[in-house]
Symmetry: C3
Subunit: 675 residues, 3 copies
Amino acid sequence: MEKKALFPQVGRIIHGGDYNPEQWLDRPDILEEDIRLMKKAGINEATLGVFSWSMLEPREGEFDFTWLKEIVDKLYENGIYTIMATPSGARPAWLDEKYPEARRVNKNGVRELHGIRHNHCMTSPKYRELVRIMDEKLGEMFGNHPGVIMWHISNEFGGECYCDKCVQKFRDYLRQKFDGDIEKLNHAWWNTFWSHNFNNFDQINPPFSHGEFSSMGLSLEWRRFTTINTADFCRAEIETLKKYNPDKPATTNFMTMYDGLDYRVMEKDLDVISWDSYPRYHNDYEKLSDTFYFNAFCHAQMRSMKRDKPFMLMESVPSLVNWHDVNKLKKPGVHKLTCLQAVAMGSDTVQYFQWRKGRGSFEQYHGAVIDHLGSDDTRVFREVADVGETLLKLKDVCGTTLKNRAAIIYDWDTRWAFYEVRAFAHDTIRYDDTCISFYKTMAKLGIECDIVASDSDLSQYEFVIAPQMYMLRNKTSANLKNYVKNGGVLLATYMCGYVDEDQLCYLGGFPGDGLKDVFGVTIEEIDAYYPSERNTVKTDDGEVYTVRDYAEILRDCKARVLATYGGDFYEGSPAITENACGSGHAIYLAARIDETSQEKLIKHCLGLTKTLASECERALPEEVGYFVRCGENNTFEFFLNYSEETKNIGNIGTDMLTGEEISALKPYQVAVVKH
Amino acid sequence: MEKKALFPQVGRIIHGGDYNPEQWLDRPDILEEDIRLMKKAGINEATLGVFSWSMLEPREGEFDFTWLKEIVDKLYENGIYTIMATPSGARPAWLDEKYPEARRVNKNGVRELHGIRHNHCMTSPKYRELVRIMDEKLGEMFGNHPGVIMWHISNEFGGECYCDKCVQKFRDYLRQKFDGDIEKLNHAWWNTFWSHNFNNFDQINPPFSHGEFSSMGLSLEWRRFTTINTADFCRAEIETLKKYNPDKPATTNFMTMYDGLDYRVMEKDLDVISWDSYPRYHNDYEKLSDTFYFNAFCHAQMRSMKRDKPFMLMESVPSLVNWHDVNKLKKPGVHKLTCLQAVAMGSDTVQYFQWRKGRGSFEQYHGAVIDHLGSDDTRVFREVADVGETLLKLKDVCGTTLKNRAAIIYDWDTRWAFYEVRAFAHDTIRYDDTCISFYKTMAKLGIECDIVASDSDLSQYEFVIAPQMYMLRNKTSANLKNYVKNGGVLLATYMCGYVDEDQLCYLGGFPGDGLKDVFGVTIEEIDAYYPSERNTVKTDDGEVYTVRDYAEILRDCKARVLATYGGDFYEGSPAITENACGSGHAIYLAARIDETSQEKLIKHCLGLTKTLASECERALPEEVGYFVRCGENNTFEFFLNYSEETKNIGNIGTDMLTGEEISALKPYQVAVVKH
Amino acid sequence: MEKKALFPQVGRIIHGGDYNPEQWLDRPDILEEDIRLMKKAGINEATLGVFSWSMLEPREGEFDFTWLKEIVDKLYENGIYTIMATPSGARPAWLDEKYPEARRVNKNGVRELHGIRHNHCMTSPKYRELVRIMDEKLGEMFGNHPGVIMWHISNEFGGECYCDKCVQKFRDYLRQKFDGDIEKLNHAWWNTFWSHNFNNFDQINPPFSHGEFSSMGLSLEWRRFTTINTADFCRAEIETLKKYNPDKPATTNFMTMYDGLDYRVMEKDLDVISWDSYPRYHNDYEKLSDTFYFNAFCHAQMRSMKRDKPFMLMESVPSLVNWHDVNKLKKPGVHKLTCLQAVAMGSDTVQYFQWRKGRGSFEQYHGAVIDHLGSDDTRVFREVADVGETLLKLKDVCGTTLKNRAAIIYDWDTRWAFYEVRAFAHDTIRYDDTCISFYKTMAKLGIECDIVASDSDLSQYEFVIAPQMYMLRNKTSANLKNYVKNGGVLLATYMCGYVDEDQLCYLGGFPGDGLKDVFGVTIEEIDAYYPSERNTVKTDDGEVYTVRDYAEILRDCKARVLATYGGDFYEGSPAITENACGSGHAIYLAARIDETSQEKLIKHCLGLTKTLASECERALPEEVGYFVRCGENNTFEFFLNYSEETKNIGNIGTDMLTGEEISALKPYQVAVVKH
């Protein structure tokens, strides 16, 4: 076990999940049975307290923690640790009735009624106070309980509130950001356009549905503010709890591609990253392996926020969810594959929502280890128990991390800017898809990428891809320039460097802020294509790539031209260029090409790196995932067969899971080799 | 004429419809002409007063019934009876202006402005009082008028109101239902989930759009309450009118598949069932005969609510409506076929909306007997007059009813539960379609089914089909168990018995409440398929059925296995089973199969019944409808050609309509044989 | 230069556009550069002041016109004229904050917050006062400035307001229209239907979303009122400005197919028609030439409002817009073709939105002559400069107009009636498309049509087409009768003359108001077809036309039958008829036929005219536009190649643009021959 193991006191990979005994307090027989079944399934952790407020404080000031304490103790006696959640994600009825300010005001300016969950105002002083009181109680009772190994703050933060208090706080945020100078804001938002100049900060409202939707500056700052206000709420909870034990780690569960919060801001307050993964396996729009590659991107994105630590798979489902369009069963073996993918990619936990299905309400059909049937003699239970056994064999993996030499730049600000931008072809901008597509192309070459910010430290990477890096943050240009000059290989694509952090277009030619010099090209025009339109790009070594959606017309090209357009009125003009810059190289791809072509281009780029070209020559078969977790003592190679066919992978050594020499993977099989 | 004839004083089938003379009071020439044309068209009834409030009480307290009385008298003098409607379906402007409480508050919490129709609050005491005053006047004037043969309460009840008075009444309803014990409600709605426990009933709101949408219990009870409140409104009107003559029958016009009201609750206050039928003939998504089969399902559903009485076709259109997506002309002959289908299926009336097209407003183009052209020399008029003549020949049919030996279970509660359920694949649940599909399969075998509730008396049936019987009402299980034990044959499908009346999942395996024993199987998992996915089911006699959308995996099978899955990881496991139980049989179909396969399975089931197997061997050709109306004196066999081709049906005897021996039906032709 | 030239002081075609120097007041270098570049591009006009309010009056009562005056003077010194806009299209923040009544109340009854543009209440007395004060300042300063050649009132008027003041004004409008007699309104709206009778005008509300949507009368009058109220606002601005110089012309920029305003009402207050043209060139749903034909229809519609004057192309884009679904580059040469199409069709100006792209906000990517790149060394700049040079050669065209002998009837009232009508098949009514389709068919025959109202003076036309003339305005019937009797040829189609100006159906047969006699036919029924349905029409000379969407069944036919239906139950009945009437002919087309068939039918009709048959025999190749501008001194023939292929057009003489004899047009080429 490595030093960086998240839970040394547990001494193995966490196998557990959300547990809601409060739904069964009138059935002690079921609570008893739960313990027996957990042990049988190799469960060593239970997440308690999520949404338990109405059972912990059924009326204001009347607290009842007895049941919770008893269960934590009982679990601990049976070798099952607790991750304790604060219940702030859902409010009891009395609270909403007595303190309307806790309820959100929606985009239409209407205060919501009591109901649903995850819908409290992040600003409300009264709600914050009530949460603090609750958290004090929890801290006091469990802050030093040996069975409670972590705090789980609230649940899946998200959403916005437009109440007066939030509006006021937003204005204060803007006042601070623009140094109290309304003219700075007017310039940043280009408010002279359409007479939108404000006289003072108090004239500004968030983007209500019956208000301003035409100001990109306003919309972007509202998103930034929402993140900051949510992070502030989360931080307040953590601070309360840490008073009772500064060493007990805290996390909150992220939702990977959720677009309402910039997780890179939020993660700074957390000790560990954790997230909830619910892919659509066996869907009708992609191969199963593509679903695994997509999920891999999500893991990578989450993992890369704290690159030097393992992360946690806080939620996943042992069978099916209840909220997909089509709620399909995972075929036998796929569940185990998903669990081991998380471990292979850096997770020290495999956790489920949920242990036991409730009888009613919104998630009564959300998959669980224990079904309404109530039996351990089910397919799902057996697969979960098998995972439990397997994870035991991998306990030495705990605390190891991935050390990648390639990265993809992905920024929330750019993502948000693309939501608001009025240009190009709205339906085909697809920033996320483009980033995922590059990740996948790299993964198929056997090279795992980190997903980093445009101003992250890039020194550990030999190759960085910056797809559609539309917005340059204040440090982006300097960071990239520095990276390339010091020998890095950088591949950027169309829509690079159009606007600054305020979304003002750069004057004098894109990409702005000095990046023209890095790439040795300037963009004169961008052509958007109708969905059925195609063009081609012809490379100097005779390849022809298909172009769709976007093509930029370049000018003032000082770089080497790798490829030119094959058609339209800009036929023959540069489409892919390569610029030597310092001791590195900057490659610019001016058009959207398909994945096969991307792979060829990437191989060219890898040829410019120190070590990656050879790595991608290792040549695993298609649809086999490959990851390496490294520790101070050991290194673990993971091989995952994402497909329904047997895959020959050559003799890789002795598999920790089967204890046998292995050279082929059966469908969905995973092999782990320890070095 | 049989004793159960609805209108003995008329002595023949009613042929009439909605008549709005108040739109033409300034044109006495037109009113005069109406009488002449009605007689020419064989019209013997006019429905008056629908939406006439502003002409009966143009200002509060100023009543003017003169015009109405004159017209009723004049019609009666000319042999035309009146069905008198109460005008509560639309409110005059002065009423909405003076009494805002009569207007609804919508799901957004906004009180509607004056306009449209069918949008009054069902609770408002003031509106109920004004309606009562109006109904007293009507009762007084027409309660004993010999020309007025029936009360038509309001019009097409529907919709919801979220005003404070309705909210309060809803809370009272809940308080009563759960014995004033909020913890009973909390358990029934599984409120511990997401901290949704209420402290008292006054915290509960209906499912406002800015409120709670995640509680299935709440949503279902709100639907139940809306039905009860609407029925209460309707009952109050009936009670007022019956004070003046307890013997004059009352009805209100239903809308068959309308999902906002459980008609089985409402029908209890009515003397006769009546409904409005507007199918899309000659559409582009099905054969004409399928449209007739669909309409037959609707007739059967309406008829089955009062199985021992004829029903009424209160509205239909002599030409085209104005509100379909595509308002198509019925081809010559189709109108007559639709009229006779109603009669064949148990209606003692053929009624139209409307007699004469108005010049303006929302329904100015809704089909009518008399068009804007104003002439009787039109195709439509001639077809209507032909129907008038034909109906005269069928007067002995009045009062006869259908005596069916097969039934399909269809419950509003299950329908509503499916709307809210978060599971499966939302777009393919299609409860209504499945029920209709089974009805159609039976109809094509020549066997007419009743459409009954899961707790209806089933003793008259040899065969009962229970498609997707997701929710078991309190008496369902006992009722079905009893039915099977006493020799009945029961066919149930996938999604059977998952939840109880509160939508709480049964523990210990589906189908719950003891039905596992009836069928001899337990459901372990349900797999939802993407739309393009297919599987197969292989029967023990070598048939292969195609599976789509859903497949349940069964376990603990004590029944005889009729068929097993042909593919997927549950290949070879039971898909159709048959369990002997008492002196009957319970067949379980675990997957959705196509209509051809359904037919084969049904034939197998019919083989287990006493008499139905032989009945389905009578073998009428495809697309020929067959119904039998039975009275104390006579029996009438109806043969209807739903197709555009001549159909040979063998010598069936003398047709009442043509007076000839008949062995083939021309396109759209109907033959009636009296025994 | 002809007498009717719009701007004799300029002495040539205007080449200019929107210019927003207020966005760059902190960059005098850029303002300086603008002058240089304008001159280089042959720009002789700048539109100033659009949306400049917050820079002209940054706080209430604090005016700053210095910067504007300086720029107007500087432009004038450099030979660049100004069109001065009033800034009423967007309000500064202080105004909305202090005077909430200036903000609109939306259809939901909610007052909008500050934001966007074009969203002020047209009624608000306070806003009108503030606009008047602003316009007084502008009038005072620029009313007699020699460099300011025109007033541009506000910008792209549109939208509706539901505030109390507008509601009151609407009621006053109705009171006046119906002579203060609520019963007149009740009859016109057919309010007896559904008890919709009003007791007085104060009970009436506009069609709020939570109010009345079922009254066609209400909806139509609300649209009419909105036009009248908007025109009133516009007129008030013009009156203010004209106080300072009655001779300075005023316009406002129309949006051609915008459906919220009846431009024929608004145009009466304007001196010149101007409009904004933004077609989707190179789209994926039509050929490029079809885009040009569509744009031609728009030009024709705008031009025909003031047939005896040139019009203005107030806005167009030199490259791409930013708000299309797909923002595509115009291919080289297409920009010039669009500019010359405007001139060919009667415009004396070619103007752009915009001169220079702003750095931020909603339209930061809207195309401009000068891009963010800031250079004149761009493709776009070169194409604009080329247009500048070309326009110089055409200065003699100024003041000439088109003299057409054919017209198409297009009425806003009918368009609006179709929006509300509940009949037919909503998705396929497509009134605009039908009118455009007939225009295109004529254009392909080389005959340019005017687009006129049903009560316009038709005496100059030999041939008039009235597609789907559903509503007859009070003067329509007399106008058409008179036109035909005096020798005109009139072609009308299905859906002719169903309703009067109040949307009341005519009694006694369609087409109403005496048109049955003009056409010699009566419509008995109209059949709507499902999208995939087809029928045929067979002409007496053996042609077979395909029918889709609609077919009317005719009766009482006294006209010559040109064609009959080929199928359905009305096979053999008349489908196209021709009636001699006075010295003219009235042709009726009862079904929707395809464009090829339309062309054949039109050729038949042209054969009945005095001169048009021979004109269409001139036979230009497909996809070549042809227009003639006539003056007192000269006539100019324009030939435009809308296609990507070379087109032989025969020797047409010497082209003014190349100075060469010409007999073929290269792709996108335009030739002009002076006579």
